[in-house]
């Protein structure tokens, strides 16, 4: 911690890094918000001895769990979008952790968590 306080270039680098992390976090959050919510589920149904598979997007909407049928043709696109969203979320988590760590190093006040 003392190095951070006394060494200007180190402190500057950390401040710069803190700012950068916040900008990236904002951009990633905006991107993640554009992707569909929920997860893709496969339901299997038997009818007259045959088994049929249907894809459903399960998501929570206003406190309710909603199952939305996804036509087979749209499944690959949706799968790609969900994978991309998960990658985004993983990065968001990494940036949130880094921001918390930098706040500690720079002794910045932690933003209040809305209740």
């Amino acid at each position: 911690m003392k190095v951070v306080e006394k060494n200007n270039p180190v402190r500057g680098l950390l401040k710069e890094e803190y700012q950068r992390c916040q900008e990236v976090l904002a951009a990633l959050s905006e991107k993640a918000a554009k992707y569909p919510k929920g997860s893709l589920n496969l339901r299997k149904k038997r009818h007259k001895g045959k088994e049929y598979a249907y894809h459903y997007l399960v998501a929570r909407e206003e406190g309710r769990v909603v199952n939305r049928h996804i036509p087979e043709a749209e499944v690959p696109v949706l799968q790609r979008q969900l994978a991309e969203r998960d990658k985004c979320r993983k990065e968001i988590l990494a940036y949130e952790k880094r921001i918390a760590y930098l706040e500690k190093l720079l002794r910045l006040p932690r933003p209040e968590v809305k209740k």
Partner: protein, 224 residues
């Protein structure tokens, strides 16, 4: 060419540099910013340990209308990086906290927000003075791939100019600190070559003078 076996990049960065090298990006474009320092350390013995988590590349723009050579957006996202756009419309990529950005030379006096580079299917941040770096570069072989980096003299002069144009003191100090560690390895001959190739306007010369004063570097080594 010296093979740098001891340069150890983090896996994400090493993978990225290797992938860019394989598609021919480093034929003319180069790695810039503080990530050049580990290579200077191996090549010239300079010691500078501070590194940011953003990895910057300078794109050579000799033939802007060229057809696509490689889809860098795809190459980079296939490595696990997530692409995103900044508020200013600049395309960036991130993985494990590292941030990848491309810059290109912005000719003086022009206000351009973004440069679309069809050759690589990316867009880049236009910045002045990037041509100093792209105009004077060298290659280094890291294990089994080749990276292009600016020669230390070009890196030094670029930093001298941009340092006094920085908005924050911390960035300026970082630039000047990098200049200071490079001083012992600078060749006067190459410094002159770099300076003489530039059309240096009066404000730029003033920036260089201010930076030279700050690090006690004799200006006559640049303009003799």
């Amino acid at each position: 060419m010296k093979i740098l076996r001891t340069v150890r990049f983090p896996p994400q960065i090493g993978g990225l540099l290797r992938a860019l090298s394989e598609v021919g990006f480093f034929d003319r474009s180069l790695l810039i910013g503080s990530w050049v320092m580990p290579l200077y350390r191996e090549l010239y013995g300079v010691h500078y340990l501070l590194r940011t988590l953003d990895i910057d590349f300078a794109v050579h723009l000799a033939h802007p209308q060229k057809q696509m050579r490689a889809d860098l957006e795809r190459v980079i996202t296939d490595l696990g990086f997530v692409g995103f756009m900044t508020a200013g419309g600049i395309q960036k990529f991130t993985a494990a906290g590292y941030e990848v950005e491309f810059t290109a030379h912005r000719p003086g006096g022009r206000e351009i927000d973004v440069v679309a580079i069809r050759e690589w299917n990316i867009n880049a941040l236009p910045l002045p003075f990037v041509s100093i770096l792209t105009g004077f570069s060298e290659t280094a072989k890291v294990e089994d791939f080749t990276i292009r980096i600016p020669i230390p003299e070009a890196y030094f002069i670029h930093k001298l100019i941009v340092a006094s144009r920085r908005r924050t003191v911390e960035k300026r100090e970082k630039d000047l600190e990098q200049c200071t560690v490079l001083i012992p390895i600078l060749s006067d001959n190459r410094l002159h070559q770099v300076v003489q190739a530039q059309r240096i306007a009066k404000p730029t010369r003033r920036s260089m003078t201010r930076s030279c004063d700050a690090i006690a570097f004799p200006l006559q080594r640049l303009f003799s």
